[in-house]
């Protein structure tokens, strides 16, 4: 009876795993096939890998796009970690009369879809384009700033800070650390797992962000990788082998970041649930 239950559970889990992994498998198989084979749904690996890669690197500026995406994602992630954790720490540790009201207003802002603020944002960046072109439309800074910290991450850090032993703050103060010192020397090292989880989420969000970069970036040399892939699919007769190759390359960095921080990530997520 116990065995039967086991078999059932394993079959179910294997099926579920297959369903979630199949798209990735198909993607990996497709980079070795010709476009015609991909459209016909061929499931076996082919011999076209080298040609696909060659076409990709010769006809598409994938390296600059990867560089742009990397710059944006890394800066966004660093800014997010710093700003959101400072805010989360402040909201939880410090006492103030109005903090819960401010925090709730902040949470309300999570309910506004990005599409609703996109036009005003575009207008804002457009109005500074002449005086500060480095921050105006078609600049990497314009991609980073609106996404550099969001209510979600502040919420995330505040929830996790609830588990942070406040005695440590007291101890630090008694030992003569400044408020900033407490944050950097005590809080940050203790909250490593939370930082790791936030880093992964922020990096993935930024790396995959499509709508805002699409709207704000204009020159081809500033394109990020999702924009480049969208372009590849725009033709009347797209080369699916090459598109799949680009997608695989675009997936690698997020996968890498995830596997590097997986252990912390899981711990961080558990923490936030407990909190």
């Amino acid at each position: 009876m116990k065995n039967l239950k086991r078999i059932f559970i394993y079959t179910f889990l294997s099926l579920a795993a297959l369903v979630s992994i199949f798209p990735f498998l198909w993607m990996l198989v497709s980079i070795t096939n010709k476009s015609v084979d991909v459209t016909q749904g061929r499931l076996l690996p082919g011999s076209h890998l080298v040609e696909n890669m060659k076409t990709l690197f010769e006809t598409v500026d994938i390296i600059p796009a990867l560089t742009n995406s990397a710059i944006i994602a890394v800066i966004t992630t660093l800014l997010t970690l710093l700003l959101a954790s400072l805010a989360g720490y402040g909201f939880e540790i410090h006492r103030s009369k109005g903090k819960d009201i401010v925090f709730n207003i902040l949470l309300l802002s999570m309910m506004i879809p990005f599409a609703a603020i996109m036009v005003p944002l575009y207008r804002m960046f457009g109005s500074i384009s002449d005086t500060a072109p480095l921050f105006g439309i078609d600049s990497l800074a314009a991609v980073i700033l609106p996404t550099a910290t969001t209510a979600f991450f502040i919420f995330f850090f505040r929830q996790n800070t609830k588990m942070f032993p406040k005695d440590l703050v007291e101890a630090g103060r008694i030992d003569g650390l400044s408020e900033i010192g407490v944050f950097f020397r005590i809080y940050m090292p203790t909250m490593k797992t939370t930082y790791a989880a936030a880093a992964i989420i922020s990096f993935m969000n930024s790396w995959n962000n499509y709508l805002w970069p699409l709207v704000i970036l204009q020159s081809p040399e500033k394109r990020t990788i999702p924009l480049l892939i969208s372009n590849l699919g725009s033709s009347y007769s797209p080369d699916y082998g090459v598109i799949m190759s680009a997608i695989v390359i675009a997936t690698l960095p997020t996968a890498l970041v995830f596997f590097l921080m997986q252990k912390h990530f899981v711990a961080g997520m558990m923490g936030s649930v407990k909190g």
């Binding site: 309300l108 996109m118 005003p120 204009q218 007769s237 797209p238």
Partner: protein, 430 residues
């Protein structure tokens, strides 16, 4: 306390809404495009590197002005998103000088942003272009678009499959859709292949059918939905159902499956726009097995064997450099016959500039299509396409029709279905 929160929530949403709508007058001033001149570079947006972008490159080569032309490739949906955001924000920063817009969408852009486009009425001569393109590229008496690629449709057929069933391409020339279905049944019986692909989410098939009879989803005014009581549409729906009932359609759900179906030889014909030619030719092993015949027509008085699917035109935006951009357009796509010859020869891009349709390049015999003078044929059919005003809501109405079609296929009565979609369209597009 609760009240306090509620008030705050309200305040925030109000602030957001206000930000979306306010300050239009200010925006028009800020664009500062009046009386500008002397731009030394202009930007053009288009999609598809093998087709529109390639055409722009050729135009750039043919152009001998001092202005540098920057060609930027964006996917079509991306262009729409970027234009909508940019134009509705009221700032012209980051907007291109020249942009390619699909004909089905042109009217809604022209109506939503009347000052954003630069009229070409005095720049080009609209009589030089195929008639059916003018209605969709002009607005309020002004010519805004420079008509570019023709979406002239043809029926691409597999001659080998037809032969197996005892037909020649001549048997499919100038037929009605009803006759097409009969042939489809015979072909399926003889070869086991489906006659065509059908995508339940893309009613391009219906669009092509009703245009053969000069009809569209909307009235002449371009905005009143014309669905209930539209005989052509009713006929097209009936024909679509007949195809389903006869089981001659292979159901596909996206572009890659559509291309895959004919590349792998699963269907005996492809009724669609001429821009599909490169995709058909992708399957090199099928060379010599294809021919293109005129589009079947609806079995109605007045319907012709010519239709259109897609097609797009160039627009000049009302931003700094508009004079230069208009001049570039005039010198290239607006008057250069040789350029059109190059486009046809090197890219297979079929323009709608009438004077260009007689050169040698059009008479080339295409081996892939068994030596047919494909481009000459297509350009003859272009002249016969009934002109219709695509109006503002082609895709919005089509979304409604897609569900209507499902109801109809599931057994709801046709008059009832059309009544429903008419009511929905009227409610939604008010």
């Amino acid at each position: 306390m609760k009240k306090f929160y509620l008030m705050f929530a309200l305040l925030i949403s109000l602030a957001v809404l206000a930000a979306c709508s306010s300050g239009d007058d200010e925006a028009n001033g800020a664009s500062g495009s009046e009386g500008s001149s002397g731009a030394d570079s202009i930007t053009a947006w288009a999609w598809d590197p093998a087709f529109n972008i390639a055409a722009l490159e050729k135009a750039k080569e043919a152009y001998d002005g001092d202005v540098e032309v920057k060609i930027i490739e964006n996917a079509q949906d991306d262009i729409i998103q970027k234009l909508n955001t940019g134009l509705s924000s009221g700032t012209t920063k980051g907007m291109p000088n020249i942009v390619l817009i699909e004909d089905y969408r042109a009217q809604s852009f022209l109506q939503a942003y009347p000052d954003a486009f630069y009229p070409l009425t005095d720049v080009i001569n609209s009589d030089d272009f195929a008639d059916y393109k003018i209605a969709t590229t002009s607005f309020d008496g002004e010519q805004y678009g420079l008509p570019f690629d023709s979406g002239v449709a043809g029926l691409y057929v597999r001659t080998d499959y037809l032969e197996e069933a005892g037909y020649t391409p001549e048997d499919l020339t100038n037929i009605t859709w009803d006759e097409y279905i009969e042939i489809g049944k015979a072909v399926k019986e003889a070869t086991g292949k489906n006659m065509l692909t059908l995508d339940p989410n893309d009613l391009g098939q219906i669009r092509m059918m009703i245009q053969t009879n000069g009809s569209w989803y909307v009235d002449e005014d371009g905005s009143t939905p014309n669905l209930e009581g539209n005989e052509s549409l009713a006929k097209a729906f009936e024909t679509y159902k007949k195809m389903m009932d006869a089981d001659i359609g292979k159901i596909v759900s996206d572009w890659s499956q559509f291309v895959g179906a004919f590349n792998s030889g699963d269907v005996a014909s492809v009724p669609t726009g001429n821009w599909i030619t490169p995709s058909i030719k992708q399957a090199e092993d099928q060379s010599g097995k294809w021919a293109v015949v005129p589009m079947p027509r609806l079995d109605m008085e007045g319907a012709v064997n010519a239709s259109n699917l897609g097609g797009s035109s160039w627009y000049v935006l009302n931003v700094d450099g508009k004079e230069e951009a208009a001049d570039f357009m005039l010198q290239t796509f607006g008057s250069n016959v040789d350029l059109y010859q190059t486009l046809v020869k090197d890219i297979g891009a079929l323009g709608t500039y009438s004077a260009a349709a007689e050169g040698d390049a059009y008479a080339v015999e295409d081996e892939f299509f068994g030596g047919q003078q494909l481009l000459a044929d297509l350009s003859t059919w272009t002249d016969e396409i009934p002109g219709v005003n695509y109006g503002l809501h082609t895709y919005a109405i089509e979304d409604i029709l897609v569900t209507g079609m499902q109801d109809y296929l599931n057994g709801t009565e046709l008059t009832k279905v059309l009544e429903n979609v008419q009511a929905q369209a009227e409610a939604q597009l008010k």
